[in-house]
């Protein structure tokens, strides 16, 4: 079952990468596949939208997993952990660049629901990780406890996540190097914002975003 779901995801990614459009029916993604592990019940329980959302969500989980498998991860500061997550995420996006670029470019008003669904799914997936980072930051002193606004820290980080994904999708620099810079700058900015000492990295990041 798990294995088959993985297979669906891979076939779906391959379909979009080679056709640059969504399949009309999910059967299409298996059109060249005559192995007998294809389970029609599972297929009929899924839609393009749910599969895509699962791919996004799984990529985020994999990025967290890959980031934490770095043996230095436990010793990293919260700042470095966040950086590490984002760099792993951009590697993950890059692995299926065509798919993720396609899937990030949802524009039509008819797709608003899809955008919302996806957003919710991503938020649901990443929130435990970010919450844990914020708590850890508070206990190490990297994150300042501020009454009233502290609850918004997580939103700031989520906004950053969506900004970085958008930035990545539109990044035309060689090997998407600008995204790497955007990650470094924006993480420093966020950590400064929620940290005890606010510095001028806000200025630095804003300038970066406006001219690239």
């Amino acid at each position: 079952m798990k294995k088959f779901e993985k297979k669906i995801e891979i076939s779906y990614i391959n379909y979009i990468s080679s056709n640059n459009k969504r399949p009309n029916t999910l059967k299409e993604i298996f059109i060249n596949d005559d192995s007998d592990d294809i389970d029609p019940n599972t297929i009929s329980s899924l839609t393009n939208n749910t599969i895509e959302n699962n791919i996004w969500s799984n990529t985020i989980l994999t990025s967290i997993k890959n980031a934490s498998s770095d043996p230095n991860f436990q010793e990293y500061s919260v700042r470095e952990k966040l950086l590490s997550f984002f760099f792993n995420l951009s590697v993950g996006l890059q692995q299926h660049q065509d798919f993720f670029t396609y899937s990030s470019n949802i524009h039509s008003p008819f797709e608003l629901k899809e955008v919302n669904d996806r957003r919710e799914k991503i938020v649901e997936t990443i929130t435990p990780f970010l919450t844990q980072l914020i708590q850890e930051g508070i206990s190490t002193g990297e994150v300042e406890e501020r009454m009233f606004i502290q609850d918004y820290y997580i939103n700031v980080m989520l906004t950053q996540l969506f900004l970085i994904i958008k930035y990545w999708a539109e990044d035309t620099s060689n090997e998407k190097e600008n995204t790497d810079e955007a990650v470094e700058k924006s993480v420093h900015l966020i950590m400064d914002l929620i940290g005890p000492n606010f510095t001028d990295s806000a200025f630095s990041f804003a300038k970066f975003i406006f001219q690239k």
Partner: protein, 440 residues
């Protein structure tokens, strides 16, 4: 060795706008310094604060440049070598830029590794330093270990190649206005720097060159090179043996004996003589950051970022004048100065005479070590002579006001190489046997 200031990591300015605004900020500060200077000089006829003014400007410009990474830093480095082009105060400040730049985060280093090899540093090495042990001009160097062997791993900043040209455009007005250089000279110089910089952003190229030069120089005594590892290198990552030893200033701080200093100086002399006169290619800028010296006086050579080929006809012209008879032969000298664009037909007679004398004394001074069996680079009077010539007000004025570039770029580069070499030998206070492949 320089350790890197961790806090600076948060404020690497990178965007073009920000770079511009940074320079504008410096510009404003420099002008305030000038206003202060003028105010003082109006009030006080005796005021001789020019040196001080240079110093103030230098630290402002330096502050701005040291916050930039990449090519601006490199330009600062190259200018710092070029005694010809900068007042002394700038040189002192800029030399620091050879040792400091804001670092990349370890996660970004990991990412760069994964991009290149599909593996993180900890998967390729037994240990990998969490922080950079040294800054490189367009990257940073980490110390790694595997099977008990130490490696130096140079990792490049992202986006460097893209920013080379735009950085140079930003450095230019500084060079022209704030440092009072002649625009033609600067254009001249920038073009050359741009080509070299672009080739320097490709570490795969650097690896190939390094292996070639290492082979070619294998016979020279008392120098050694790291091995380079192709399967642990990519366009953005360069892995080589770690060389134990000191930078020039650290080496000198330990008061090495005259004998050992001579040994290092000799190795340096022979290394450059071989490059210039045999290979006719110069492979490493003679700036102190490119050498690691062992306690017993072996000269480790790292960094072959740029290769400068010396064209044959230029070589002939330039070094012919090293032979005193040729230098004294007015006809010949005129020809060479013309073809090297030191002097133009359109120059006024007065300028012609003046420039002829100037370039003649410059080349003669540079050639002097070649004319004796041994040369004592510790001799301060020789360097005072060089400085006096370079800082002579009248010379500076005529060169600066010249509407045309003086000297073809190959010449500028070779002068810079020799000045760089001599100033390191001077710091070593080395006595060197100055025989040259050129005369043999």
């Amino acid at each position: 060795m320089a350790t890197i200031d961790n806090k600076s990591q948060k404020t690497i300015p990178s965007s073009k706008v920000q770079r511009v605004s940074r320079f504008v900020k410096v510009g404003a500060k420099v002008s305030t310094n000038y206003i202060k200077h003028y105010a003082k000089s109006v009030l006080d006829n005796e005021y001789t604060g020019k040196e001080e003014l240079h110093k103030e400007n230098a630290s402002d410009v330096y502050e701005a440049l040291s916050e930039l990474k990449g090519s601006a830093l490199k330009v600062a480095q190259m200018m710092s070598m070029d005694k010809n082009m900068l007042p002394q105060a700038y040189i002192e400040k800029f030399q620091m830029s050879q040792y400091s730049a804001p670092p990349l985060s370890l996660p970004l280093v990991n990412k760069t590794f994964i991009k290149s090899f599909g593996k993180a540093p900890y998967q390729l090495f037994d240990t990998f330093s969490k922080e950079a042990v040294n800054a490189a001009s367009i990257g940073q160097v980490h110390l790694a270990e595997k099977d008990g062997k130490k490696y130096a791993v140079k990792v490049q900043y992202p986006g460097v190649a893209e920013s080379v040209s735009s950085d140079l455009k930003l450095v230019k007005p500084i060079a022209v206005r704030m440092m009072g250089l002649n625009e033609q000279d600067v254009n001249h110089y920038m073009q050359e720097v741009e080509v070299m910089l672009l080739s320097e952003t490709d570490y795969e190229l650097e690896l190939e060159r390094s292996q070639k030069i290492t082979e070619a120089c294998a016979h020279i005594n008392n120098i050694y090179f790291p091995n380079y590892y192709k399967d642990l290198s990519s366009k953005k990552i360069l892995t080589m043996d770690w060389l134990d030893g000191d930078h020039l200033n650290e080496f000198l701080a330990k008061n090495p004996s005259q004998e050992i200093r001579n040994k290092v100086g000799q190795a340096l002399w022979e290394f450059y003589d071989f490059q210039v006169h045999q290979l006719k290619e110069v492979h490493a800028d003679p700036h102190p950051g490119n050498f690691i010296i062992s306690e017993d006086g072996l000269l480790g050579i790292i960094d072959f970022g740029c290769v400068k080929v010396i064209p044959q006809d230029f070589y002939q012209n330039y070094f012919d004048l090293m032979i005193p008879e040729n230098m004294e032969n007015e006809e010949k000298r005129k020809d060479v100065f013309k073809s090297m664009r030191f002097i133009y037909d359109e120059d006024s007679d007065q300028d012609k005479i003046f420039l002829d004398q100037l370039f003649k004394s410059m080349i003669s001074i540079l050639a002097r070590p070649f004319h004796t069996e041994t040369f004592d680079f510790g001799d301060p009077s020789y360097f005072e002579e060089i400085t006096a010539l370079a800082e002579n007000e009248e010379n500076q004025k005529i060169l600066r006001n010249s509407k045309k570039p003086r000297g073809i770029r190959d010449g500028l580069y070779l002068n810079r190489t020799y000045f760089g070499l001599y100033s390191i030998l001077h710091q070593l206070e080395a006595k060197v046997t100055t025989n040259s492949i050129f005369f043999s």
